[in-house]
């Protein structure tokens, strides 16, 4: 397909979409699907047909709308009216209300059971109002299995712009200008990463999409891949054009069957449309993507381990330098970006780096997707501008803590991150602010804990995770995490003394400083941050031990 044909196809897709007066979006993300959304979708289609409205109303499955606990969700566009926990038996009734009588059924609307006055236009609801959706913009309003629907949402226009109006240098300059930082967790400036791969001259380079999201409680990348796989592919293609790669790998964890199915489908559709393959849009730029499925090891999120896994080797990290930008996959210069980072490329190319850099805080531009989970009323997927406070996220978007309990801490960054206590609820979230508090941005898991949570137990949980997921290559991580876990377990069980805690602190610094890769060097973080803010909880468990020992006279 050449450029002319592509533009024609895109405008046809748009016109076709515009012929519909209503679009009914039935969320088909993993959360809603497990609540039965597939049956709702089929019933919805049948009901629309029986009303003879199939020329006016289109019914589509979409990606995640964000409120996973309220599923299945059904959204009427363009009115933006969302119904929650929709059952097959309720479909007719809702359609009657929305399409015939135009009297929305308040009790069945989103938060109809908890808010006295639920919002007919969901965008007015605080859950959505405080959010800024850039990455997730089309996620809940587009059929992720239909490339034409993506065309109708200006799909592949950014690739078109990059190929025909920009040089690779322009693309890199635009990304640098946007101040986008890697969304996988470390926050390395994306533009600089692209530039360093660009500068390594080689006739074979690779682009890898890191979709091995492994933090407990995190599902940002899964939702993006499920909701808008073409956006990720388009981002990969633009990256490949910029750095001079012709081959890409999408590395997706095996626990995400729907994401794998959809990205594979998207790749086939893009190939058929000539948007992947040789001579894309009639240019001499060629790029193709293959999917690689992870086998369940957390360490594969580490880029050198991920590369080893793609090469078919045991997934163990290797020492850097050399960095993948110099010698990555099969020794060739390789760009590895996280799913969310790649999904951010398209709007930056369309709207310009300047537009993106104005969103957020001075050091962290743009938005961040978080998976909100734990002791919170509105669990789900949210996207906020950098600089939004934790309080806004938890109390306005998240709707507060169930049972009116007190907030104790928010855990960010998963097993590599830390806890943020109540006194820092007003922190404006960005990379530096979280780092200063002893936590990290991480990939976007945000777990809320209430007054009942035992912070030492939290530290033990994450240490157990790191111990189980350590690859076993280097000594500090293999033995150190096991040792630290056993010590934390001893504290939890009330068998530890101050001397044990001192040894644990010493070991934490050792594991952090000497581990080979990020898994080990960040493994002590949950312990260190809980000790920093909740030292009394640790000490109370130690004191108990001393008392027992004193009573037995064997101290």
């Amino acid at each position: 397909m050449n450029r002319q044909e592509f533009l024609m196809l895109a405008s046809t897709a748009k016109e076709k979409k515009d012929t519909f007066k209503h679009t009914i979006c039935v969320c088909s993300g993993t959360g809603c699907a497990s609540a039965g959304s597939e049956d709702v979708l089929q019933m919805m289609k049948a009901d629309i047909r029986s009303r003879g409205l199939e020329m006016e109303v289109s019914v589509i499955p979409t990606g995640c709308t964000g409120l996973c606990t309220q599923g299945p969700l059904v959204q009427y566009m363009p009115a933006n009216t969302i119904y929650q926990k929709v059952r097959v038996s309720e479909v007719q009734k809702i359609n009657e209300a929305q399409l015939v009588s135009h009297q929305p059924i308040k009790a069945m609307l989103l938060f109809g059971d908890t808010r006295p006055e639920p919002f007919v236009n969901a965008t007015d609801d605080p859950f959505f109002k405080k959010q800024l959706k850039i990455v997730l913009k089309d996620c809940g309003e587009m059929d992720p299995e239909d490339i034409e629907d993506y065309f109708a949402h200006d799909g592949y226009k950014a690739l078109d712009k990059a190929l025909f109006l920009m040089t690779p240098e322009d693309v890199i300059a635009e990304i640098k200008h946007s101040r986008l930082r890697g969304r996988g967790g470390a926050g390395y400036p994306t533009g600089l990463k692209w530039e360093s791969v660009y500068k390594h001259v080689n006739d074979q380079k690779y682009v890898i999409c890191n979709g091995d999201e492994g933090d407990p409680g995190a599902f940002m990348d899964r939702s993006i891949l499920e909701g808008n796989p073409h956006r990720v592919l388009e981002g990969m293609a633009i990256a490949a054009y910029a750095i001079g790669a012709n081959k890409g790998y999408a590395y997706i964890r095996g626990e995400y069957p729907l994401a794998i199915k959809r990205i594979e489908l998207a790749i086939r559709q893009a190939r058929r449309s000539g948007l992947l393959g040789t001579g894309i849009l009639g240019t001499d730029f060629s790029f193709d993507v293959e999917v690689r499925i992870g086998a369940g090891a957390f360490v594969c999120g580490e880029e050198t381990a991920l590369i080893a896994s793609i090469e078919g080797k045991r997934a163990t990290p290797t020492a850097r330098p050399p960095y993948p930008s110099e010698a990555g996959l099969w020794g060739k210069p390789t760009l590895i970006n996280n799913v969310e980072t790649l999904a951010t490329i398209v709007p930056i190319i369309i709207n310009g780096g300047g537009w993106y850099s104005e969103i957020g805080t001075p050091k962290s531009a743009g938005t961040k997707v978080f998976a909100l989970a734990g002791k919170i009323n509105h669990s789900g997927l949210i996207e906020v501008a950098m600089g939004t406070t934790l309080r806004e996220i938890i109390y306005e978007i998240g709707g507060g803590i169930p049972g009116g309990k007190a907030f104790k801490a928010a855990q960010t960054g998963g097993p590599s991150g830390g806890c943020i206590p109540a006194e820092h609820l007003d922190v404006k979230i960005d990379y530096e602010a979280l780092m200063n508090l002893g936590s990290i941005m991480g990939s976007g898991g945000l777990i809320v804990m209430d007054e009942d949570s035992d912070m030492v137990d939290v530290a033990r949980f994450f240490m157990e995770f790191c111990m189980d997921e350590s690859c076993g290559k280097c000594v500090p991580c293999r033995v150190g995490t096991k040792m630290m876990h056993d010590m934390l377990d001893k504290i939890c069980k009330g068998n530890a003394t101050q001397a044990d805690l001192d040894r644990l602190v010493e070991l934490a610094a050792y594991v952090q400083d000497t581990s080979l890769c990020g898994l080990g060097s960040s493994a002590p973080n949950p312990f260190m941050s809980t000790l920093r803010y909740f030292k009394k909880e640790y000490e109370s468990k130690l004191h108990a031990t001393s008392a027992i020992q004193a009573a037995h006279g064997n101290d």
Binding site: A319, S470, K473, V479, T481, D486, L516
Partner: protein, 235 residues
């Protein structure tokens, strides 16, 4: 040949471009302990004993995998590094079952030497005593996983020098184990050529010949490096 200037422990040194920090240190009599490094094999940076501080680099770097670059300023013997080397040594001893008095390698063991070198008079951490097997199915040699420190020198010598790739690593973390021939008993492995290089490369008493009696084991790990050098010269 062109050289580069670097500084190690306040000494100004000339080095060959492309040489690792560990090579340069050894050439200049600077002692850095290692376990997973063996002359002639690829380096993996796994034991973390050879970590050094490099000015301007936030993280400690393994000197066996890091190449020297011009004007690098390196510290190899700071108190922090010495402390960490001792902790690493203690973790080696605490992980499995290293009781020198009853070991075939007693007196000829790199792990034992390391303990003396870093001044480990006792282990401050609880013994984990991982549950490991002993494989005596091979006619000439024994693999005692209790004494294995997972340095993977056997894995690499078998794959890189002998070309048989009998050994590999299975499972992960604390449960990681060296395996023979896709996890078959060593004696049944069709990959093993019984060349014995793994036995010589092994730094502890984990792999030993059945002919050796307690404390009488003789190993020659330097043979591996010599062998690799001779092969290169033949080419």
């Amino acid at each position: 040949m062109a050289t580069i200037d670097i500084q190690i422990d306040d000494r100004h040194l000339k080095a060959t471009p492309g040489a690792t920090i560990l090579d340069i240190c050894r050439d200049n009599g600077i002692d850095i302990p290692t376990m997973c490094h063996l002359e002639g094999l690829s380096d993996v940076g796994a034991c973390r004993l050879c970590l050094v501080e490099i000015e301007g680099v936030r993280k400690l770097q393994s000197s066996c995998t890091t190449k020297a670059t011009p004007d690098m300023v390196i510290q190899t013997q700071t108190d922090r590094l010495k402390n960490y080397r001792r902790i690493t040594t203690e973790l080696f001893f605490a992980e499995r079952n290293h009781f020198c008095a009853v070991c075939v390698a007693n007196g000829n063991c790199e792990l034992q030497d390391l303990g003396y070198k870093v001044g480990m008079d006792h282990v401050r951490y609880p013994y984990l005593s991982a549950d490991c097997d002993l494989d005596a199915t091979h006619p000439q040699m024994v693999m005692d996983h209790n004494r294995c420190i997972l340095c993977t020198r056997c894995v690499r010598v078998c794959a890189e020098v002998e070309g048989a790739h009998n050994w590999d690593v299975m499972n992960r973390g604390f449960n990681a184990r060296i395996i023979s021939g896709f996890n078959t008993p060593w004696g049944e492995s069709t990959d093993c050529t019984s060349c014995g290089k793994c036995m010589h490369a092994c730094p502890t008493g984990a792999i030993w010949p059945k002919s050796a009696t307690m404390g009488k084991l003789e190993k020659n790990p330097a043979m591996i490096g010599e062998l690799v050098k001779k092969r290169r010269m033949d080419r």
